[in-house]
């Protein structure tokens, strides 16, 4: 009998001893990212990964709203940005211009940590995923700096407060504000890694390609004032992707239901990488009729980007590449295009006094923007004239891509190009002088509460 007992007991123990793996099952509809194919899925989360801040366009001088339109601006802090209010964010608002890039950084950190922890997977796939994560992290930090830190100044960059560098996915890690220089060092390291790792072509334009990484690098160097490197990156970028959309061949009536840009973003050959701002619905943006006059009558952008709002005296923006044929991505396009590369290189040539090369690049772009038969190649008498022309064309071409405030910040660094912004609303005039503290957005109050970061003066 004793023997039977032991047999039975041994049987039961054996039954439960094999249970070590019994609990290690994963739910089918959830994912604990661990392998390269999981990271692939995370980085394809377009709704998260391709978001950029958009608040800067509300501050910049392109936007012009009537009183009614201003009243319809969806969020309080959007309105206060428009009037450069010193008191910008309230205590409990979720400022997506801050949190959305950091979410991208969290994804990137998760992927980079995961790749380091798990060495399996095809090298090609690993490289691509790693390169993309590097690209996204660099792009997110660059956008954060442009919104929440001072313009890069080599002399003070190691002292100017930048944004906290989070390089791990640990949400409990303490943070302080790293200097602008430290953040740029990280951004450049990431973007250079991305250039090395990314494939020349990406299967989808929501995935960064090598051209996208060069375009990002060009944008970064331009913002830093490193025109040699910016030109170099733009050139490499152009060598990888150089087709421009020929606006002459665009059928303006192709938009089915509503006034939107008639070419879908997927079929638009000059789009290198798709990203969108967190800001307003694209059609909430408008420009003044003065601004609209900057586009010549035969400039196709005048009608493809804008339509007149009756009785309001301004023009509604309908030119976001995102809107092409799809109502799914309502916020404005803020990604990279071949056009931007041409403009960056043109500017660099002009700054290096190579006027002809600068004008060649500019004309290479503009020929695609004018009505058939009305295009006159632009010429410039001097590098300075060339530069002013290029900056004007840059403003017109890249409108509402969240780039204008960045341009103002870097241009304000030089008194010759500095601009004082003014706007009038409800009979009140607002002025924003060059270099004003209000060019830098305050850190959201929630962040200060949680991490006690140093606040930007306002």
């Amino acid at each position: 009998m004793k023997k039977n007992t032991y047999i039975v007991l041994a049987f039961i123990l054996a039954a439960f001893a094999g249970c070590k793996d019994y609990l290690d099952i994963q739910p089918k509809d959830k994912l604990i990212p661990g392998g390269v194919e999981d990271f692939r899925l995370l980085l394809d989360d377009q709704w998260t990964m391709t978001l950029t801040p958009g608040i800067a366009d509300l501050m910049a001088d392109d936007l012009y709203l009537t009183e009614d339109q201003y009243g319809d601006v969806p969020q309080d802090y959007f309105q206060r940005s428009y009037t450069w209010s010193r008191d910008l964010f309230t205590a409990d608002e979720d400022i997506r211009d801050w949190s959305a890039p950091y979410k991208i950084i969290f994804y990137a950190n998760t992927v980079l940590e995961g790749l380091a922890a798990n060495p399996t997977g095809l090298q090609e796939a690993r490289n691509q995923v790693q390169g993309e994560a590097d690209f996204y992290r660099a792009y997110a930090y660059f956008n954060l700096l442009n919104t929440f830190a001072k313009q890069y100044n080599a002399a003070t960059a190691d002292k100017d407060p930048g944004v906290p560098l989070r390089l791990s996915s640990d949400v409990t890690a303490p943070v302080t504000r790293n200097s602008v220089k430290e953040v740029y060092v990280q951004i450049l390291a990431d973007v250079n890694d991305a250039i090395k790792l990314l494939p020349v072509k990406a299967a989808f334009k929501t995935r960064p390609s090598r051209a996208a990484a060069h375009a990002l690098a060009a944008r970064i160097y331009l913002q830093m004032g490193d025109y040699d490197r910016a030109m170099e990156e733009a050139t490499t970028g152009i060598s990888l992707q150089n087709t421009l959309l020929d606006y002459r061949k665009v059928d303006p009536n192709n938009s089915t239901f509503d006034a939107v840009f008639p070419v879908t973003i997927v079929s638009n050959p000059e789009v290198i990488f798709i990203s969108s701002t967190t800001g307003m619905y694209a059609k909430n943006y408008a420009i003044s009729s003065d601004m609209h006059k900057l586009y010549s009558v035969h400039d196709l952008r005048a009608s493809l980007f804008f339509r007149e709002i009756p009785d309001q005296g301004n023009y509604q923006y309908i030119g976001s590449y995102n809107d092409g044929g799809s109502t799914n991505v309502p916020s404005p396009f803020s990604g990279f295009t071949v056009a931007e590369l041409y403009l960056i290189r043109a500017e660099c040539y002009a700054r290096k006094n190579e006027t002809n090369k600068a004008m060649d690049d500019l004309n290479a772009l503009l020929v695609n923007r004018f009505e058939e038969g009305f295009f006159q190649p632009v010429t410039a008498a001097s590098p300075k004239v060339a530069l002013r022309t290029i900056l004007q064309e840059r403003r017109k071409e890249l409108i509402f891509r969240n780039l204008r405030l960045m341009d103002l910040k870097r241009l304000n660094a030089n008194p010759e190009y500095a601009i004082t912004l003014t706007r009038t609303l409800n009979d009140e005039t607002f002025i924003l002088p060059p270099g004003d503290n209000r060019y830098v957005f305050p850190i959201p109050a929630k962040e200060i509460t949680a991490t006690h970061l140093e606040q930007n003066p306002r």
Binding site: K28, D38, S99, T110, V329
Partner: protein, 1176 residues
């Protein structure tokens, strides 16, 4: 130990010797003991034959300062010995048997419960062969040699007694099953006598369950256990249970329900209540912690009926039929049609309907509004308009609705069962059938159940058992919430939140005088319909009655439960128990939406595309739409357990178990929708679910986004492994110590491996005070004190320790249409399961010959590691993380009294009183700034509903607390205001929001859930007639009254509450009413509505007492009717939901079903049940 007690006794009861006087108070002591006491006090020595005196049994000696002679006489009257004093020695010798020494003892034996004579009881003189049996009137007579010998009285089925004989004595015997020491409690793992239990158990037996007629077992429990409260929420037809208040914020809050030792995962409706033998409710840590991580909300253990070994087959049949009234819509307290027209006229005059008449408007125009418009446009005269309007005032759509769509209810239940057993097997078989015709016409439910339980003794040591249960339920055209959604059909939705969303005006009619269905204004106005027909649209009219008649939905559920068991006796007292349980539920839901329903027609129109060449392309083909859904559940448990149960020398009793179990729960579901379906040919059409089609309405939609089924496949697998032990040790049947421990492991998503194994434990002690020798209060029959402490766990499946992503299907990525995953949680490696520490102190007592039994308990639950949203820096990329951050305390008292008030041979009156107090308080919760915004609390606070995302914990207050603005009264124009903290009147809604910017500034009104509740049941019996009256009460809580509907009336044509008639109408009314004016001005009405709704004048005390039910039953047995062809018939009738006896509010509102904004639950209708039970 024993010596110690003797010593204690001596110290207390024996007065030190004085010459020859004796003082003693001894109960049932051996004669030798009495001799020793006398010897000690008097100095006289005793001389006797030890052995023969010892056999004489025990005696009582109760003397005070008595002479030696008196003391000795008392002693020797009780034993068959005599004495004489020789010098200082008392010589004891057997009393010579002589005729002169004979005594006659006579008396009667009665049942203590019924006071009926017990015929044939055995009365025996202890230590002799003398005895007698009671006669037909329970009387007996015995002749003995001693005057007051010990008698042993016994009767089958009753507890034997031993007592000292007296003349003309009446001996009461107690029915065996009622003896407390024989009551067993079961935890699902172990069954133990209640007297040895240390924990807090509530036991509900079959006779109590039989006192309420219901098809649902849990409904029967209401009012039968302390600590268990029921609340009916707006969003579910199942009552929400809470045991001893609440001890979690966002995690599972319902008690675990265990059936025959295994948690039931499926629907409790699969259990036929007639099969239930008993229910044990495990309340404290010692009782419940054996259930580990699922025990924090308490455990309800249901045991179904079994046969008995060596029992003749017994057959029982039962049937009852319950009649209920149709719903009484006056209970919704809605405004009258006439008031609604007045309100609509105010809105019309204020120009609020102007947009209905603007070109391009597609919205239907209410009939009254059209009349006023015609009058204004001069199309009809003022008198014609007034005449037409007045004709509408007498119509109430609810009358048509009630007449056409609802009916009185009938519920039928039938059950027959057989049980019995032979020497080697026991069996129970039952079959049941229920058929309910619910209040909505066409909504029927039927259930068929089979149940069997068999145990076979294979050898002396091995028992095998197999039990199975099968239940098949069919529902036709189900409604989601019983009695709460009368406008489902009218509003075109099944949501219970649309009760008042009566888009067809109250003056719409559903049928004409000939009974033909009428269309009501719905969704589109006539101009738009005409335009649509021009495009080729199908009919766009809405006929509520036709819609109702076209409903065709069938929900079926099949539940199978199989238990296999083997019990092997390894050694004396040691058993090995192996059990396997399989629970399988298959549910199917088939909804056929006829092509003539509005929904189908409307969607066919939506997907009509007009091509540039004018061609009409229907992307959604006309035809029925068939929705098929399946939900399957498979739960399997394997358990191995060693039971040890043994007593040594009547002193030590050990009961222990140890075991392990594994459990797997798999839930699978699928759902699909077929379009263009033809139910006769069973053909359907393929449609393009993905492409965005442009439509006439100016949008693009894909069929999938409008009519898709969401996630078509679900698959969730949970696994648990548990190791458990439970042991108790009892010494001398007086002192019991208990301990239990359990370790649970699970795959539950995210809990990190090293924290998966979660130990939970308890300890307890109990003391049977009345068994102590020093304790002798005659009136106390039983007094047991107990104390326990321990931990129960709770799980939260939403939390996760790893970075977790949701997998998204392709097509949702806007430009690439590739699949992706989105992170929903950052890693949180410190996650733990919630746990609840509980102290329980209890006293069980039986007093005055057990005529008053009861228990009193105190508990204090400290819930720790509760989940809540912890605030994160936005630079983490997340706003919050689900984390163990909160704490909560719940404490309370429970009192249960069973009283036998009157007990004569013919008439009995028993009372059961229960009182429960449970108060919860959130003791730790971190609120971020935004979540402290009072507007959230005013809107969502104090709602104990199923939507946990609306729970708003506030540190220092109950989870479901009510806050309000201090009311500021009405001004001279009848507009509402609230009072600011500085006493100033606030008249602006936004200003109030700015001033009251923190919840702590608002006025706290109280909790929504009753802190005090209980029941009072009185049972009166006259001969075979029994009457039970059940009263329930809830005290100390509050409810917020309905809003005024001022906003929704205008915006959504909703019919507001009847308080409209009491509103401010003219100057001076502000002194008489608190209901603000209805101005027709949007902003002012919104302010009036919100200020009134959220101020303290609209918060009412919810205290009430309810007459739950009255049961009348009559027993016919062969004793009362010799010709009865069966052994017993019980006839019964029960009236239920009889209504409120007393309430604190003066509005005639039932606080359990108070009308609320957007939604109302109607009080349950009164029902009358009649039935019969026959025993063969």
């Amino acid at each position: 130990m024993k010596r110690l007690f003797v010593l204690l006794l001596c110290m207390q009861y024996i007065v030190p010797l004085r010459a020859q006087s004796v003082t003693a108070s001894l109960q049932n002591v051996p004669a030798e003991k009495a001799f020793a006491v006398i010897q000690q006090q008097t100095g006289y020595e005793f001389l006797y034959n030890n052995e023969s005196v010892r056999k004489a049994g025990t005696i009582n000696l109760s003397v005070k300062q008595a002479t030696l002679e008196v003391a000795l006489q008392q002693c020797f009257s009780q034993i068959p010995f005599t004495w004489k004093v020789v010098d200082k020695t008392i010589v004891v010798s057997p009393r010579p048997v002589t005729a002169a020494a004979e005594y006659t003892i006579s008396g009667r034996v009665l049942s203590s419960d019924s006071r009926q004579p017990l015929i044939g009881a055995t009365i025996r003189v202890k230590g002799t062969d003398k005895g007698a049996a009671s006669n037909g009137s329970g009387a007996f007579s015995i002749t003995t040699g001693t005057q007051h010998p010990l008698l042993q009285v016994s009767f089958l089925g009753y507890i034997s007694r031993e007592l000292r004989a007296e003349n003309d004595m009446v001996i009461y015997l107690e029915e065996d099953k009622k003896k407390l020491s024989e009551v067993v409690v079961t935890t699902g793992y172990i069954t133990l006598p209640k007297e040895r239990a240390t924990g807090s158990f509530s036991q509900v037996d079959k006779s109590q369950l039989d006192k309420r007629i219901s098809t649902n077992i849990l409904d029967k429990l209401e009012g039968l256990s302390t600590g268990l409260s029921f609340s009916r929420s707006v969003t579910s037809d199942k009552p929400k249970l809470s045991l001893r208040g609440r001890s979690t914020l966002f995690s599972e809050d319902q008690p675990l329900v265990v059936v025959n030792g295994f948690p039931i995962e499926g629907d409790l409706n699969s259990i036929d209540p007639d099969d239930v033998e008993s229910i044990t409710i495990l309340k404290d840590a010692a009782a419940a912690s054996i259930w580990g991580v699922r025990a924090a909300n308490g455990v309800i253990v249901i045991t179904t009926r079994q046969g008995k070994f060596n029992q003749r087959p017994s057959v029982e049949a039962r049937t009852n039929i319950v009649f209920g009234r149709k719903p009484d819509y006056s209970q919704l307290h809605l405004m009258s049609t006439s008031d609604y027209i007045d309100a609509q006229q105010i809105l019309f005059k204020a120009g609020r309907f102007n947009n209905l008449f603007s070109p391009g408007s597609t919205v239907p125009i209410p009939e009254a509004v059209q009349i006023w418009k015609d009058e204004k446009d001069g199309k009809i005269s003022g008198s014609v308009a007034a005449q037409r309007i007045n004709a509408l005032r007498d119509i109430d759509i609810l009358n048509d609705y009630s007449r056409l769509f609802t009916r009185n209810t009938i519920t039928r239940q039938y059950q027959v069962n057989v049980s019995g057993g032979s020497e080697n097997m026991q069996y129970y078989l039952s079959a049941g059938y229920d058929k309910n015709a619910n209040y909505m016409v066409g909504n029927n439910y039927e259930r068929f159940t089979l149940n069997t339980s068999n145990t076979v003794r294979v050898t002396k040591k091995l028992e095998l058992s197999i039990a199975g249960q099968l239940s098949q339920g069919n529902t036709s055209n189900p409604f989601d919430v019983t009695g709460s959604s009368p406008f489902d059909i009218i509003a075109g939705t099944r949501s219970a939140t649309n009760v008042a969303a009566q888009i067809p005006s109250p003056y719409s009619r559903l049928v004409d005088d000939n009974g033909n269905a009428l269309k009501v204004p719905w969704r589109y106005n006539e101009a738009f319909k005409q335009e649509g027909y021009g495009q080729g649209f199908l009919n766009m009219d809405y006929y509520p009655l036709t819609e109702f008649q076209l409903m065709n939905r069938r929900v079926k559920s099949m539940a199978v439960n199989v238990r296999l068991g083997a019990n092997y006796e390894i050694a004396k007292g040691l058993n090995l128990d192996l059990k396997y349980n399989l629970e399988k539920n298959n549910g199917s839901d088939r909804n056929l939406e006829d092509q003539n329903t509005f929904m189908v027609r409307d969607n066919v129109n939506l997907f009509l595309e007009i091509m540039p060449d004018g061609e009409q392309v229907r992307h959604l083909p006309p035809g029925d739409i068939l929705t098929l859904a399946k939900n399957d559940l498979t739960a399997q448990t394997f358990r191995g357990q060693l039971n040890f149960n043994r007593s040594w020398r009547q002193k030590h009793t050990v009961a222990a178990i140890a075991g392990a179990e594994s459990r797997e729960i798999l839930r699978e579901g699928s759902r699909q929708r077929l379009f263009g379906y033809n139910d006769r040919t069973l053909q359907y059409a393929d449609v393009d679910m993905v492409t965005q089609f442009p439509n006439y309405y100016g949008f693009t939609n894909s069929i999938g986004s409008v009519l898709g089924v969401g996630a078509p496949v679900t698959y969730i697998k949970d696994r648990f492994i548990s190791y458990f032990t439970n042991a108790s040790y009892t010494y001398l049947n007086r002192y019991t110590l208990s301990a239990s421990g359990r370790i649970d492991g699970s795959n539950l998503f995210g809990v990190q491996r090293n924290r998966r194994l979660n130990p939970l434990w308890s300890v307890g002690a109990a003391w049977q005070v009345q068994r102590e020798k020093f304790f002798h209060a005659d009136w106390v029959d039983m007094l047991k004190l107990r104390a326990t402490y321990g931990f129960n766990g709770n799980i939260n499946k939403t939390a996760t320790a790893y970075t977790t992503a949701n997998l998204m299907t392709s097509g949702e990525n806007a430009t690439s249409y590739i699949p992706y995953a989105t992170i929903i949680n950052p890693a949180n490696p410190n996650l733990r399961w919630e746990k609840v520490a509980q102290v329980n102190l209890g006293a069980d007592f039986a007093l005055f010959r057990e005529s008053l039994n009861g228990s009193l308990e105190y508990f204090n639950k400290q819930a720790q590691d509760l989940f809540g949203s912890a605030f994160l820096a936005p630079s983490t990329g997340f706003n919050s993380i689900s984390s163990n951050i909160a704490e909560m305390r719940t404490q309370g008292w429970e009192l249960k009294l069973d009283s036998r008030n009157i007990s004569t041979n013919n008439f009995r009156w028993n009372t059961t009183f229960m009182l429960s107090i449970a108060k919860d308080k959130v003791t730790k919760f971190y609120n971020t700034g935004s979540s402290m915004n009072p507007s959230f609390f005013l809107l969502y606070g104090g709602r104990d509903n199923d939507d946990r995302s609306t729970y708003l914990p506030v540190e220092g207050y109950p989870l479901f607390g009510l806050w309000a603005y201090p009311w500021g009264g009405l001004d001279a124009k009848g507009n509402a205001g609230v009072t600011g903290p500085d006493g100033k009147r606030i008249t602006d809604r936004f200003e109030a929001g700015r001033i009251y910017d923190n919840i702590y500034k608002l006025k706290y009104m109280g909790a929504v859930n009753p802190p005090v509740f209980g029941s009072l049941a009185n049972t009166f019996s006259y001969k075979q007639l029994n009457l039970t009256v059940n009263i329930l009460y809830k005290l100390g809580h509050y409810y917020r009254g309905s809003d005024l509907g001022y906003y929704t009336m205008a915006a959504m044509y909703q019919r507001g509450p009847d308080s409209f008639k009491d509103r401010w109408k003219q100057a001076g009314d502000e002194a008489k009413t608190n209901i603000p004016a209805f101005t027709g001005v949007r902003a002012q009405d919104r302010t009036n509505n919100d200020f009134y709704q959220f101020s303290d004048v609209n918060v009412e005390k919810a205290d009430h007492v309810r007459l739950q039910d009255v049961l009348l039953s009559y027993d016919i047995t062969r004793q009362t009717m010799a010709t009865l062809p069966v052994s017993r018939i019980t006839l019964y009738a029960q009236a239920s939901n009889l209504g409120i006896i007393w309430r604190a509010n003066k509005h005639g509102i039932d606080p359990d079903y108070a009308p609320q904004t957007f939604s109302s639950v109607m009080p349950p209708v009164r029902t009358l049940a009649i039935g019969a039970k026959v025993g063969f």
